[in-house]
Amino acid sequence: MLDRIIQDYNEAVLDTSREKALAVIREALNQGVSPEDIEFKVVLPSIDMIIRLADKGDANLAQHFMASQIAAAVTEELIPKFKKTQEVMGCVVIGTSMGDFHGLGKKIVSGCLKVFMIDVIDLGLNVEPERFVEEALVHHAQVIGISSMMVHTARGENGCLKVRRLLKERELEDKIKIAVGGAPYRYDHELYKVVMADAWAENGIEAGSVIGELIKEVKK
């Protein structure tokens, strides 16, 4: 039965149909499938499926967006139904770099992170470097996620470079890692090193697992 649910759910996600995907989940719950099985055997693997497709260049922005939004919505609905409270994996503060008003990538990342049981503090658009660091400290975040859609906001002095400088000055580099993403990084895969980030992700869906790995690294 679970195989059928997985197949139907994946088809709905690839079809970018939120309605169909939610109907599959509701039907599965009605049939007595546990919320934990739905979350960890259906929803989470569907994110992995999109990552694999994206790696081959076979997934598009609409699928990333819908996969993330559907997964976040389902996760929020399922968590209260879990028999045992799931351990939160970690926390990330996320926002777009200063001068950048493009929020879609950040939104996709946030949706995926919820599925990975990572708390997301969304700082919004046009975030000052100082605020990234302050908020990371307030929320005990292991990762700062910085999204940039334009070259000058990715490479500029008030983006990741300054966040790195602030972490260094305050000796926080072992406690807080930086992940970056957005269009300029897709066109230059070495750019994350230029801006002194710890990691980058090709797309919003992949960012979920990249940030997850950074959290594990900090917690080691």
Partner: protein, 346 residues
Amino acid sequence: MITGMDRLIAAAEGRVSDRIPVFCNLIDQGAKELGMSLQEYYANGEYVAEAQLTMRRKFGYDNLWSLFYVGKEAELLGCTKIIFAKDGPPNVGEMIIHTFEDIHKLRIPDDIGSHPAFQEEIKCLRILRREEGGKYPICAYITASMTLPAILMGMEKWLDLLLNGPAEIRDELLTKCSEFFRKEITAYRDAGADIFVYSNPFGSTDFVPRKLFKEISLRWMETDLKSVGTQGVVYYCGGARLNPVIEEVLERTGITTYYLSPMDDIREGKRIIAGRALCAGVINDIKLIDWSVEEISLEVKRMIDAGMPGGKFFFGTLVMPYSIPEVNIRAMLDAAYEFGKYTRQD
């Protein structure tokens, strides 16, 4: 003397001239050229025209731009807040559509040519036409109906409406955006532009699933272009890949120029087009910031070697970030002029 227009017409007709056409999209660099801030620069069409003419003469490439910044289209539809940076393109600072009610209320100007927000572009185009008209193609940038909603309501809301509906609201917005497109291209034609870069990331399967591309994107492209024709129209997906959609776009719209993504395989693009249209190989110009002169030269050669056989090919750039060193711009252009010679022997 062979002009950029001569080169472009020869390439489009499958003939040779001295070298392939080279299009270089220097936009924000105009402010640097005139030593002023981007905000000051874009406030006056005379500045934009002067810088466009100066940069083309200085670097020797084949096109001129009438584009100020993409947010200009939002201004024509009522946006009053543009946020200027010191070293990059201006951003739309406020979305004009927040609710479905805003879509109902959206009004398309009757005559874009007389719209106050278009007057500096008219001024710019008049000067470009007077100085280099007919000699160097003057480009205008026009966003397709499928993509324009992204700058009116934001990417997230547009994707949500596009994918989840309601379909009648989506179609109401697309109908208005298509009307705007047709009026805008007419205004640019009347003002003297020759080339119309039809920007449509939502017409690429990097953005939308193939099913949606076939059922919605193609339909609205046909609607955009049916009455205004494809003369001078260049298909461009804003950096998203074209190769997977070229065949259908060509068949359904008849567009005869394709401006590939740096992510597209140029040989594959040429193979798909098969001599039916002109094709631009486009450099990943974000890398120009850090590449050495030697790396730039090698990349330009690789691209031209892939695209030039069989003709109907030209060289192009994508966004040309403000921070590319001038020496690297020159290195790219010198390599394109050298390796793009039709008489090249190596």
